[in-house]
């Protein structure tokens, strides 16, 4: 099937670059870019085919069989997949192009291209998976690419530890994912979507006793358990609270990566997974509620932290966390289509924002602290304007893509019940903060007096065209995607969910107005604070010092983890090693050896060299033997 090429073209690019990268070097983009563009074209073709109503399924090969564990690798394209395909290939193509300019002259140029090609392949395979294990395999594979790309500048210690952290935190999530996956297999005897989904309804009432090892009795619904376990994976991958800590650190990677992986595609895999498994989640209200609450919490936490960050990419990163919270919350409330919709628009405008950041950073010679920027709007006009469009979309400014999708999420939340209404209110609040921090970024970076390092201040200019063109395209997309009618396109996939995107009614209108107002208020607030009264932030910070510091230090989550998990683990490891392994086990082993040797030394003394002692021993032997025989 031709569509097989969609993922395998990037793979081919990766192999060529990976094996011959040292020779190709500066020409690496000549391999990678055409491959991704081609697969982008094929994706569009696939999209149109799927849009006409068909579902494409391409079996590839049998991965492993063992008893009833029977896993095949295959491609499966329905509407959900098709949308994701478009997102991935388009953003990826643009990032590829952007990279040509951004990474120009870097020693790891070819390596970088090979990694993103590999990432594109993995991400495509992830969304194309027709079974859970394939999903998991590429779920981890994208994690690997993320790891490699975060650590792209391997000389930097901070990049390396960020990479490690990202991988580890994801592993924690994947731990749950794996167990959930096994539970699915155990319960259904299969991992294929088309086996599981039909069977799911029949098993709806099954429960599992979680306390059976202890002899207790705590029955939990099978699907709740499956849902929660799988969602653990999503928490990790989509940077939800409490595993969100890796994502901001991941900004140590080159900016194109932040755009592609840590904003548009990989981090949304969790949302995609929940949406993909909607038939299972729908069977467990508890799991759904947990998903929604986690999403909401993430949304709020991310936004509050983003308010005070000073690193340009970290602000955007926390906004990503926050936006991912929106999507997850939407899924948790059953509004899968809205969630996916937001995913898509977010993919466009967040990629735009990140690439814009990248443009700024390149222009400022890798300066990322917004306190040392300012007044750039004249020097970097393309960047500035596209950045503003992205920020407007993020802030939910009317008629941008972000406006529509955020509105869809909030409306769906409101309509989904009491919990949803509470969360919708939170969502509105977050929207306010979102608008505030995104325009804080705009104003501080581009407006006002220049605080740029005087060394660089003179030669700030717009980067090359390979950078600006993707920005422009993404800016267009940031507006355009709002008008494509994605929710209704996706509706058939989630037909079992109770969402009716068509009937917003009065509530819908109210939410829309509220959200708009919130967005405008946020922008106005930012303008007031950062343009009109630049000394205000400092005063705020002094006035609410603990709040400010909490936000600035990301609510001390990293520190808490360090104290609660990392340090104790390392302590336990070295203590266990010294106490148990070295002292107890080896001590026992060496002790036995020493004991034997010691008794040897002792017994050796019997051999005194005195002949008559020897004779005495013989006589003693006679006594013992005679006694023994007499007595027994």
């Amino acid at each position: 099937m031709l569509y097989t090429l969609i993922p395998f073209l990037p793979l081919a690019a990766f192999l060529v670059l990976g094996l011959g990268g040292t020779r190709i070097k500066e020409q690496a983009h000549l391999v990678a870019v055409p491959a991704v563009l081609l697969s982008c074209l094929l994706s569009i073709s696939a999209f149109t085919e799927v849009a006409s109503g068909s579902v494409i399924s391409v079996p590839l090969y049998t991965w492993l069989t063992s008893g009833n564990l029977d896993v095949h690798i295959g491609l499966y394209i329905d509407r959900l997949t098709a949308v994701m395909l478009l997102l991935v290939t388009i953003v990826s193509s643009l990032v590829h192009i952007y990279t040509i300019g951004y990474m120009h002259g870097e020693p790891g140029y070819a390596r970088f291209f090979s990694y993103i090609a590999l990432f594109t392949f993995s991400m495509l395979m992830l969304v194309l998976a027709d079974n859970l294990l394939q999903l998991f395999v590429f779920w981890e594979a994208v994690g690997l690419c993320s790891y490699l790309l975060i650590g792209h500048w391997y000389e930097r210690a901070s990049a390396c530890s960020a990479a490690t952290k990202a991988f580890l935190v994801n592993r924690v999530g994947d731990f749950g994912f794996l167990l959930g996956l096994l539970l699915v297999w155990y319960s259904f005897g299969s991992l294929n979507y088309h086996d599981i989904f039909p069977a799911a309804h029949e098993a709806a009432n099954q429960t599992i006793n979680l306390l059976s090892p202890l002899g207790g009795n705590w029955d939990v619904s099978l699907f709740t358990l499956i849902g929660l376990l799988l969602f653990t994976g999503a928490i990790g991958k989509s940077a939800q609270v409490p595993l969100h800590v890796w994502l901001p650190d991941a900004m140590e990677g080159p900016t194109p990566i932040s755009a592609l992986i840590h904003a548009a595609t990989m981090v949304t895999a969790g949302v995609f997974m929940v949406a993909r498994l909607a038939p299972l989640y729908n069977l467990s209200p508890v799991a759904m509620q947990v998903v929604a609450l986690v999403g909401a919490a993430t949304m709020v936490v991310g936004a509050t932290i983003a308010l005070t960050q000073t690193d340009i990419k970290r602000v955007v990163a926390y906004s990503t966390v926050s936006q991912l919270g929106y999507m997850v919350m939407a899924c948790g409330l059953g509004a899968y289509a809205s969630g996916m919709y937001h995913l898509l628009t977010h993919g466009a405008f967040k990629a735009l924002l990140f690439l814009g950041c990248g443009s700024v950073i390149v222009a400022l010679h890798h300066e990322q602290d917004i306190r040392r920027m300012g007044g750039l709007k004249d020097k970097l006009p393309v960047t500035y304007w596209t950045f503003v469009i992205g920020s407007l979309a993020l802030a939910g400014f009317p008629l941008t893509a972000g406006f529509f999708s955020k509105d869809a999420v909030l409306v769906a939340a409101w309509l989904s019940g009491p919990l949803g209404q509470a969360l919708a209110v939170l969502g509105l609040l977050t929207a306010l903060m979102t608008a505030f921090y995104s325009f804080r970024l705009v104003f501080v970076t581009f407006w006002g007096p220049s605080r740029v390092d005087p060394h660089h201040a003179d030669h700030i200019h717009e980067p090359s065209r390979t950078i600006t063109v993707p920005l422009l395209i993404l800016a267009v997309l940031s507006i355009l995607t709002g008008y494509l009618g994605i929710p209704s396109f996706l509706e058939p996939v989630f037909s079992t969910g109770g969402e009716h995107s068509g009937e917003h009614g009065a509530a819908g209108l109210g939410i829309m107005i509220a959200a708009t107002l919130m967005g405008l208020a946020g922008i106005a607030g930012a303008y007031y604070v950062y343009v009109l009264n630049p000394d205000l932030p400092d005063r705020f910070a002094r006035q609410w010092e603990s709040l400010y510091k909490g936000s600035l230090n990301k609510w001390y989550v990293d520190e808490a983890y360090d104290r609660a998990f990392v340090k104790p683990t390392m302590m336990a490891a070295s203590e266990l090693w010294k106490r148990v392994d070295v002292e107890v086990i080896d001590g026992a082993v060496n002790g036995v050896a020493r004991g034997v040797a010691w008794s040897g030394w002792l017994l050796r003394l019997v051999q005194s060299g005195q002949t008559q002692h020897y004779a005495l021993a013989m006589a003693g032997g006679i006594v013992v033997l005679v006694t023994m025989l007499i007595l027994f």
Binding site: A619, V623, V626, T627, I630
Partner: protein
């Protein structure tokens, strides 16, 4: 009567045996042993082993013991003034051993497999020497030959060991 003889011989044998061990001067020990040999020979006679009694006197008393005395004199040994320091432990071991032996050999009413000799049998067995001779050269011919080898070994071995001249590379 027999008991009387036995009592005498046994008494002297036991006494001299103890003396052999107890006397510190090896010459005295050897002399005590000599007395013991004579009495053992006497005991043999009461047991109708006249040939052995004679051999006992000739070989043991006449040859072996003389050899001992000869060596003792040759080496001009001083009196052995102490027993080995382990004698207490030795006593600790040997006393139970003695008790066990006594229990085994006497206490449990030893019953020899064949009955004691009758008078007729005693008479028949009078030609002890001839009987031994016949047996030696018929039934025990092979051991006899082996014994001769033992003597050969002893002879040559003694020469080799006691020979004085041991130059480096000296010829034998």
């Amino acid at each position: 009567m027999a008991e009387l003889f036995f009592g005498y011989f046994a008494g002297v044998i036991a006494l001299t045996a103890v003396l052999v061990v107890a006397l510190r001067n090896p010459v005295y020990s050897a002399l005590a042993l000599l007395v013991l040999f004579f009495h053992v020979a006497g005991l043999y006679v009461t047991l109708h082993a006249e040939f052995l009694a004679a051999v006992q006197l000739i070989v043991y008393a006449g040859a072996i013991l003389v050899l001992y005395l000869f060596v003792v004199m040759l080496l001009n040994l001083k009196q052995d003034d102490r027993y080995h320091h382990q004698w207490r432990i030795a006593a600790f071991v040997c006393v139970p051993l003695l008790l066990e032996f006594l229990v085994l050999l006497a206490g449990n009413g030893v019953a020899p497999q064949s009955s004691p000799l009758t008078a007729e049998q005693t008479a028949a067995a009078s030609d002890n020497t001839m009987a031994i001779g016949t047996t030696l050269f018929t039934t025990y011919l092979f051991p006899f030959e082996v014994a001769s080898l033992i003597l050969l070994v002893a002879m040559i071995g003694a020469i080799i060991l006691a020979k004085r001249d041991i130059g480096e590379g000296g010829q034998t």
